[in-house]
């Protein structure tokens, strides 16, 4: 394989953003018929490298060779015309168009003439022979065919946003799969898919690879990297670390190279044992923070009970669509419950809006950073101060100097990587945006913090930091509700786990039952 000429060569690519060197002299090669993973922590430069390749950013120096010829795509469209297609981490489709329209946006099948169209009537039937229009039937039919290849059978005439994020992601993939391409880039395609969907996707990816497509795969899931990729390129802090055959690179080496240090797998275990001991010793007189009784909303989640004590991490485990997020949204007052009650520190609270929840001492970091969390055009400082300012009220203005103090302190303690507190939040990497959201709530000093998928779409190192943060917050007495699709993470962090399935809370696990096997068994048993 190494003897043939690579379909794509990127030589000494350098790209600088204001205050940050995103890529410095990075090399990358891609061959026909291979899946090539790009690995690295947040801010390692994976996304930037892909964006240079797809024409979103122009490199400061370095060259790109596609099949030996130098290219310099000026826009994603230009890149697509060259045969470089991308599915981005955050879904870039139009939620208010139908599935079929999304798949064919910009290249709708057209047809001329025939039929009882307005134009035929208008032009007396002659000109209509020459007026092209969208062939809706053909579009629907072909969309269904394309999706069937991914084993998805849905009504393609429905609006995209009526489907789950997982389906939307697959539609995004279907769209680029249908555009004939030489290179397919998958940027975190699996971060919102459940296991069977991931397998489904991989099946497609493998068959495409066998047909000779060159595929760039970016993910934070180590296991998936090994499942699917033939070759791995590692980046760190915008620098090229090395290119390896996947089979010849042990997992631990990969992690070590990404982090630039050895990952101690055992720190969690000891951490948890310690915590368990303190929990059992303090368990009896731990103060109750949150009691939820019979809270439910028809069509969203079945009525459930929940308790949360001081210094406790309650994990919510379940598959995608099991009702974890719905549960969190009810507790935070985003969706109004139609039955049940919430007590905070024993006091009954009528929580029917996020504002009420905040005033009662609850914080909530949404899983959907882009749409429900970050204000990309506001500065990091403003992003951090917003909730506190809202809590104080409009007229108790926090002076700019005090704002900066609060922000700087949180930037430091959460190790947020940003040029300054006055940089735009949109410029930060995913993991750092996640930390900014966390900082926003920490500034309000909540008693209860709900974290919905705080580790989604961020790299191993940042995941570690977030989990360590969760533990240290709970040590300080905060009660946390932690949601993650990764059972491993839930197990590592939680002192108790609520298991959900099909919008019902089916069990609670504690003590020695906190392990991945019991969770899976509970879900499989489904009593």
């Amino acid at each position: 394989m190494t003897d043939e000429m690579p379909v794509l060569t990127m030589n000494k690519i350098t790209k600088t953003f204001p205050g940050v060197k995103a890529l410095s002299s990075v090399d990358f090669r891609l061959f026909k018929g291979e899946v090539h993973a790009i690995m690295g922590q947040n801010g390692a430069g994976k996304s930037t490298l892909v964006k240079v390749l797809t024409g979103v950013h122009a490199q400061d120096s370095g060259e790109i060779l596609l099949e030996g010829k130098p290219i310099r795509p000026e826009s994603p469209l230009a890149a697509q015309k060259l045969g470089i297609s991308t599915v981005y981490q955050e879904i870039n489709l139009c939620p208010n168009l139908t599935v079929a329209e999304n798949i064919f946006a910009g290249r709708q099948p057209m047809r001329r003439g025939r039929g009882r169209s307005f134009w035929r009537f208008f032009f007396g039937g002659i000109l209509s022979l020459f007026v092209p229009r969208i062939d809706w039937k053909e579009m629907t039919k072909r969309s269904e065919e394309i999706l069937k290849r991914l084993n998805i059978v849905i009504d393609v005439t429905q609006i995209l946003s009526s489907y789950s994020i997982a389906i939307q992601q697959l539609v995004a993939i279907a769209r680029v799969l249908d555009i004939s391409s030489k290179i397919l880039i998958l940027d975190e395609p699996t971060s919102s898919l459940d296991e069977s969907e991931v397998e489904q996707l991989f099946k497609v990816v493998r068959s495409l690879r066998d047909q000779g497509l060159a595929i760039i795969f970016i993910t934070h899931f180590l296991d998936q990297t090994y499942q699917i990729s033939d070759r791995i390129t590692i980046l760190k802090n915008g620098e090229f670390v090395g290119e390896f055959q996947a089979k010849a690179l042990p997992k631990l080496d990969l992690i070590a190279k990404m982090l630039g240090k050895e990952l101690s797998e055992f720190s969690y275990a000891t951490e948890r044992d310690q915590r368990k001991m303190t929990a059992t010793s303090a368990g009896k007189d731990a103060k109750n923070l949150l009691t939820v009784k019979n809270l439910g909303l028809r069509g969203s989640i079945a009525p459930f009970d929940l308790e949360l004590d001081e210094a406790e991490v309650l994990g919510l485990a379940g598959l995608l669509g099991s009702g974890r997020t719905e549960m969190a949204r009810l507790i935070f007052g985003i969706d109004g419950a139609n039955q049940g009650e919430i007590r905070v520190r024993g006091k009954k609270s009528a929580i029917n809006s996020p504002r009420n929840a905040m005033m009662a001492g609850i914080g909530f970091c949404s899983e959907d950073r882009k749409n429900e969390g970050i204000f990309s055009d506001l500065t990091v400082r403003e992003n951090i101060i917003l909730a506190l300012q809202a809590k104080n009220g409009v007229f108790k203005f926090i002076s700019p100097r005090r704002q900066l103090e609060v922000a700087d302190e949180l930037i430091k303690s959460l190790a947020i990587v940003t040029a300054s507190a006055n940089s735009m939040a949109g410029q930060l990497s995913g993991g750092n945006q996640q930390k900014v959201m966390l900082a926003r709530w920490l500034a309000t000093n909540p008693a209860i913090l709900i974290l919905d998928e705080p580790t989604r779409g961020i790299d191993v190192g940042a995941k570690l930091e977030i989990m360590e943060l969760i533990l240290s917050l709970s040590r300080r007495g905060m009660g946390l509700i932690f949601i993650s699709s990764e059972f491993e993470e839930v197990v590592r962090c939680s002192s108790r786990i609520a298991v959900l399935k099909d919008k019902v809370k089916i069990a609670e696990l504690d003590g020695d039952d906190i392990n991945e096997t019991s969770i899976m068994r509970t879900i499989a048993g489904g009593n």
């Binding site: 985003i334 996020p354 905040m358 204000f375 506001l378 917003l386 909730a387 809590k391 409009v394 203005f397």
Partner: protein, 340 residues
């Protein structure tokens, strides 16, 4: 960051450059444009005219800025101007001896109350009933003229109460009184938005309404009060319009003002997508529009052709503000530097 670079990032720079270019053009090609005279202790001249005639649009632009920052729009302000002048004319009355029916201050206050209510109506439709802003304000855009006609009984009411003329025609210390009103409202709004958290909340709501709600911001209230304030601004503008011509015409007062106001906001650097807003930019935007109008008339361009010239200049200014276009210009210059 070098001072030059930070200047280049300053959002006020481009509107100011546009205004400067316009004035420079006048300096070179329009005779006597900058001539100032003192007549009866007042300043007279084109520049003063620009400030005086631009006052209503500047006021509308201030209110509109906040509405647009929340990712909204208010196309009813022109009609509210008509309502305002209708109410004030009705209450002062067309007495030929110049004796007002009700005290002038009472009449003005009543007009402002009615306009504030009109703003509240818009705010309620957008924030509580969650109508799309352009549809919600379209209702008052259409109905407002009708309401104004009810007040003026479908006639043009002429006013003769002298003291009322101060608002639109009067001078204090040689400067038009309306300019003081604009400055007062501008400073008040600036302090109110930037020395409290309101400005940040407005921007947050405009950038990401869901995230704003999730952060505990009362988005609905913010949106409601922003439209209300816009109505109030339109009311004040209506008083000035009415006072300038000393008459109220339900059909034509404030006609198409909403478009000039929106244009002023956009010229001033605030995006129609909501988010960051620039009050001073909007006022400069209004000045650009007014300078342009005055220039066109000073050059003797026929009134029929004037809109075309105006459209062309506006197009050029908008192009100048587009970051993409600027980047392209910079690239062209960079290449030239490389080749030399």
């Amino acid at each position: 960051m070098t001072p030059l670079k930070s200047l280049g990032r300053n959002k006020l720079l481009w509107p100011l450059v546009a205004l400067g270019v316009l004035l420079l053009f006048n300096l070179l090609f329009t005779p006597h444009f900058f001539r100032m005279e003192i007549k009866q202790g007042h300043l007279y001249g084109n520049l003063i005219d620009i400030l005086k005639n631009g006052a209503p649009i500047m006021l509308l632009a201030i209110g509109m800025t906040l509405v647009i920052a929340t990712h909204g729009i208010d196309i009813s302000v022109g009609s509210v101007v008509a309502i305002s002048s209708g109410v004030v004319a009705l209450l002062i009355g067309g007495d030929l001896k110049g004796v007002p029916k009700y005290p002038i201050l009472v009449a003005m206050a009543a007009a402002l109350v009615v306009c504030t209510l009109a703003g509240m109506w818009n705010g309620m439709l957008v924030s509580r009933i969650r109508m799309q802003p352009i549809i919600a304000t379209l209702i008052l855009f259409v109905a407002g003229r009708g309401i104004a006609m009810v007040f003026t009984k479908s006639m043009i009411i002429w006013l003769y109460a002298k003291p009322f003329a101060l608002l639109g025609q009067g001078y204090v210390l040689g400067i038009p009184f309306s300019i003081y009103i604009v400055l007062f409202i501008l400073l008040l709004t600036f302090i109110f938005t930037r020395r409290t958290a309101i400005g940040m909340f407005i921007e947050a709501v405009g950038i990401n309404p869901t995230a704003a709600r999730f952060s505990g911001i009362k988005s609905q209230n913010i949106i409601f009060w922003v439209y209300t304030f816009c109505g109030l601004c339109a009311g004040i503008a209506g008083l000035i319009v009415c006072s300038t011509v000393m008459s109220a015409d339900g059909n034509n007062a404030g006609k198409l003002f909403e478009l000039d106001a929106i244009l002023a906001v956009v010229l001033g650097g605030t995006s129609l997508n909501g988010g960051k807003f620039y009050l001073f930019g909007s006022v400069i935007g209004a000045l650009i529009i007014q300078t342009l109008t005055t220039t066109i008339y000073a050059l003797g361009v026929p009134a029929d052709v004037a809109p075309v010239v105006k459209a062309f200049v506006v197009w050029a200014v908008c192009l100048m503000q587009s970051p993409r276009f600027r980047a392209r210009i910079v690239r062209v210059f960079a290449r030239r530097e490389l080749s030399t």
